[in-house]
């Protein structure tokens, strides 16, 4: 494959997969938020914050997209790896790997949305569980964070600015 295919696929998968997962996660939690607000409007604030938690994965995806575009020169200048030599292939494959890491770990947004949904329900029943609900939901994000850290190491050490 051409280096450009690897690079753009990496960027697209990072932002696309993570973004889609975030959309599902926020959607699931949003349904729960609508449910509790239908019963009592004072649940709005708590539900809103919990609903926003699965959004971070899409941000990680977006950042990775931009990083990939920047180090490969697509953004600002010109594509650096046009020549079809092994070094360029390796570098672009690394970028694909980095994008894939973030994209796949970004899927944690879906379970995070499910946890947030259950958390929203629990908070509606007992408002004191708000912080616990947030912490439980934040647990699921750890994988996405590890993914971002891993991808960053790959980009910085494997390709470099």
């Amino acid at each position: 494959m051409d280096p450009i295919v690897y690079v753009s696929l990496g960027a697209a998968l990072a932002a696309g997969l993570a973004g889609a997962a975030s959309a599902f996660g926020v959607g699931i939690a949003g349904a729960a938020a609508a449910g509790v607000v239908a019963e009592d409007e004072k649940n709005f604030k708590n539900a809103l914050i919990l609903e926003g938690l699965p959004m971070t994965q899409s941000i990680y995806g977006l950042i990775t997209l931009f990083l990939i575009l920047m180090v490969s020169g697509i953004l600002g200048g010109g594509f650096k790896f046009t020549a079809d030599n092994p070094d360029n292939i390796v570098k672009s494959a690394i970028l694909l790997g980095a994008g894939l890491t973030v994209g796949l770990t970004g899927l944690s947004a879906i379970p995070q949305g499910i946890i947030a949904s259950a958390g929203i329900g629990a908070v509606a029943k007992n408002p004191k569980t708000f912080t616990q609900g947030i912490i439980f939901a934040a647990m699921a994000e750890t994988m996405a964070i590890f993914g971002l850290v891993g991808a960053l190491i790959m980009i910085v050490t494997g390709v470099g600015f």
């Binding site: 599902f24 729960a32 449910g35 019963e39 259950a118 929203i120 329900g121 509606a124 007992n126």
Partner: protein, 366 residues
Amino acid sequence: METGAVSGILNTTLALIFTWVGYKTSKIIYKYTPYSYPNARIKAMESKLLTEQRFNELAESRNLQNFIVNLEDTDYRDYLAEVQEPDVESVEKALEKALAGTYELMARILPRRVSPFFRLLLEEWDVRNITSVVKAKLAGEPATDYIVEIGPMLPKVKAMAESKSMEEILVILEGTPYEEPYQRLLLGEIDVRTFETELYRMYYGKLLNYALSKKEEERTILEEFVRLRIDRMNILTVLRGKVAKLSAEEIRPMLIPGGSVKLDPLLHVEDLGMALAELDSTRYGPVIRDVREEVERDLGVLERALEGYIIERMNELNRFYPLSVATPLGYVLQKGREVKKLRAIAKLISDGLPPERIKELAGDVA
């Protein structure tokens, strides 16, 4: 190795990973998303269930007017608003309608793959209403007093109660599943008690079939729920039979198949005490042990204890599967208990009992 082979392996791996991830993800989404809205809403509704303190305050109402006022900051308000002249009957009817409304809400907001179960649950009131009407007609009493205002067949039930002869009822029941047993009742093939059992058997059979047609945790939960209900019904039938000194052969036809407890050993014991001892080794042992003494005097205590056990069990399942059908099931049971208690309080208030006594008696109801 050649580059072609490497990228081939890579591509296959990628394809496999994506297929697997896609499959798992879509499964998770399919499983949990539909419960997100209803379960969160039900949790919010659970926080509005009346507390013990509220019941105590309600018991202090002194008259039905105050009773209604005290409920004005709850969801019963819309139903009670229709009550113009407060008397027990209309208050009770409003409360029953509120309960029916809860079931209908569940059927409406739950995912389509389980919502029919709640419509099926409502049929229990049909069964109850039909048997009460038939019993009242046979006894020559005004049947309308015995109707509870819930059930998908309510208009028919009302027409039945207003009908002038047993044959008219047959016309009304024509085409429904209840027609056949009723015909046999009219022909004298079965007595009214068997008729009642037959109706309950049909009802629980439907529930069980529905539960068994589901998959995974939905099936686990629904099946558990139905079997618990059947057990409760059967245990009470057997124990009542034992109190009335009926023989095993007389009790057996009144039992409903599908329960989880083996009832045979229970049927052949001498009296209530031994029957309770027999139950000790079943899953209901701990429940019965706690109320053993009182049960020997009053079986109503056991009925409540078993009901409480079902609720407790649903709550357990609810903690285990927060986004599942256990949440609405637990909720409708709790709501049912609440309505029962409110009805009792309303009745006692209109009978003019002092608050202390009402608190005591209402505590006994649920």
